[in-house]
Each structure stands twice: as C-alpha cells, then as structure tokens.
C-alpha cells in the first residue's frame, strides 16, 4: 500500500475517534455538533484518499465527498435551528438539562 494512502487513512481514523469522543462527552449542543463535524471530516478524508489512490478514474468518488459536505451543512442548519428553539424555550442549550428527552 502507498504511504500516502496509509497516512490519510490514519489521519481520518484519528479525526473520527476525536469526533466520537467530542460527541459523547460534551454537554453543550453546539459542542456536540462540533464532534459530529469531526466525525464527518474523518469520513471525508477516507473518501478522498480512496478516490485519489485507488480509483481516480471513477468520478463518483468525488461525488460522495460532495454528499458528505451536504450532510455537514444540513446537520449544522438543523442543529442551529434546534439550538435557537431550545434556547428560547429553556434559556440554555445544555443537554444535561434536557431531562424531558429521556425515554
């Protein structure tokens, strides 16, 4: 395997791990969104690396990256919408206080 592909995959794995830690450990809604952004960033690095080093002739690889970017934008838009609604209703976006969401 080429060293470039290996380095990119390891960086992607590290970003994914940091994102998982952030999404699970943070109590603030905006910080949780940041963790999810890092998870998606890790996935994106892998997609670009696979396209570049394994199948550069298939443009669908780049298209997948665009779809992940779309998911990032959608996640942000909806997340901030929810944050505004929550802040208006309860005066805080701390998820520790969102006990009514418990099943």
């Amino acid at each position: 395997m080429s060293p470039e592909l290996m380095i990119a995959l390891i960086a992607g794995a590290a970003l994914f791990g940091i994102g998982i830690y952030g999404a699970l450990s943070q109590t603030n809604l905006v910080m949780i969104l940041m963790g999810v952004e890092l998870i998606l960033a890790g996935a994106m690095v892998n997609l670009v690396a696979f396209w570049r080093y394994l199948h550069p002739d298939v443009a669908a690889g780049q298209m997948f990256v665009l779809i992940v970017m779309t998911v990032m934008a959608v996640e942000m838009a909806v997340g901030f919408g929810v944050a505004i609604a929550r802040f208006r209703a309860r005066g805080s976006v701390e998820m520790e206080e969102a006990v009514e969401l418990k099943g």
């Binding site: 395997m1 060293p3 470039e4 592909l5 290996m6 380095i7 995959l9 390891i10 960086a11 992607g12 794995a13 590290a14 970003l15 994914f16 791990g17 940091i18 994102g19 998982i20 830690y21 952030g22 699970l24 450990s25 943070q26 109590t27 603030n28 905006v30 910080m31 969104l33 940041m34 963790g35 890092l38 960033a41 890790g42 994106m44 690095v45 670009v48 570049r52 080093y53 394994l54 550069p56 002739d57 443009a59 669908a60 780049q62 298209m63 665009l66 970017m69 779309t70 990032m72 934008a73 959608v74 942000m76 838009a77 909806v78 919408g81 505004i84 802040f87 208006r88 701390e94 520790e96």
Partner: protein, 174 residues
C-alpha cells in the same frame, strides 16, 4: 517518503491537533477557531492529494460555516470567553474509551485490509472537474438533485423551528 506524503502527513497532523484543541480549551471562540483551522488543514490535505476542486471547496465552505458557528457560540454559551474554566463534559471516561476504540478499529481496518494496487495514472485538475461535472449531470444526477432538495428542506425546517411562535393576544379570543 515522497514530498506528497510529507505534506499529507503534515496537514493531517495539523487537522488532528486542532481537532484535539477543540475539546481541550475552555474558550468557545477558541474552540470554533480550532475547528476552522482543523477543517482548513483538511482542505490543504485534499490539495496535497491533488484534489484541487474538493480542497478549495472544503476551505471556502468551512470558513463560512465555522464563522457562523463562532457567532452561535458567543450567543448561546454562558461563558464564551472561557474565563470561568467551566467544566462542560460528562461521561468522560466512557467517551475516551469509545473514541480510542473507534480510532484503533479504523486504523486496524486501514492496516490489515488489502486495498489492492495503487492507481498509476491520475487525471489533471481540469480533467477532474470535467469528469465530476459530467458525473453530476449524468449518472448521479438524481443523487445530486436529492442533495439540493435536502439542503432546501433543511433551510426551511431550520427557519420554521427557529421562528418565535406567535403569541396569542387576549383580544383575539372570541
């Protein structure tokens, strides 16, 4: 090691380092800026991998997105400057274990899977953009259009959720 591998490693390291800083600082502004730098380093990594279009798109998109995020941080955080050094984490141990296991698992897959031969030829920047354009308007058109409609729906949904509900005045009641 090639020059390309060096730059991919350098920007990859920068992206990971700034990713760690996001959750290590108490200042929310610093968190948002660290995420911006992490995503920009990622864009630079794409450029190092000769994916010019995606690299530039990533940097432009994330610069805008993270600027908006910084504004939201200041709006919603109780201590945006981080001067109070407020603890904003829970289940830290479980999260660390989950993050570490995810990292080790993903690295194990990267190392032990046989990915096949590395491509010997690679299209130049112009050819890449032409091929992506043709892909988006030909075989993947439905997926591309679906992504557009999804963004539009998300924008409308986010605005609808965020709008303050109209208060019923006493005189409106019959």
């Amino acid at each position: 090691m090639t020059v390309q591998a060096f730059f991919i490693g350098f920007f990859g390291l920068a992206a990971v380092w700034f990713g760690i800083v996001v959750f290590r600082t108490f200042s929310m502004m610093r968190s948002a800026l660290a995420l911006l730098f992490s995503q920009t380093a990622l864009g630079a990594m794409f450029l190092s991998m000769q994916a010019e279009f995606l690299g530039v798109l990533q940097i432009m998109m994330m610069a805008t997105e993270m600027s908006i995020m910084a504004i939201f941080m200041v709006m919603f955080m109780m201590d945006p400057g981080g001067l109070g050094e407020m603890e904003m984490t829970h289940q830290k141990r479980l999260s660390l274990i989950a993050g570490f296991v995810s990292f080790v698992g993903a690295v194990a897959v990267a190392v032990f899977v046989d990915w096949g031969p590395v491509a010997s030829t690679f299209p130049d920047a112009t050819q890449q953009t032409v091929e992506l354009g043709l892909e988006l308007l030909d075989r993947s058109m439905l997926i591309f259009e679906t992504a557009g409609i999804t963004i539009l729906t998300a924008m409308i949904a986010a605005t609808a959720v965020a709008i303050e509900p109209e208060k019923k005045s006493v005189t409106d009641e019959p």
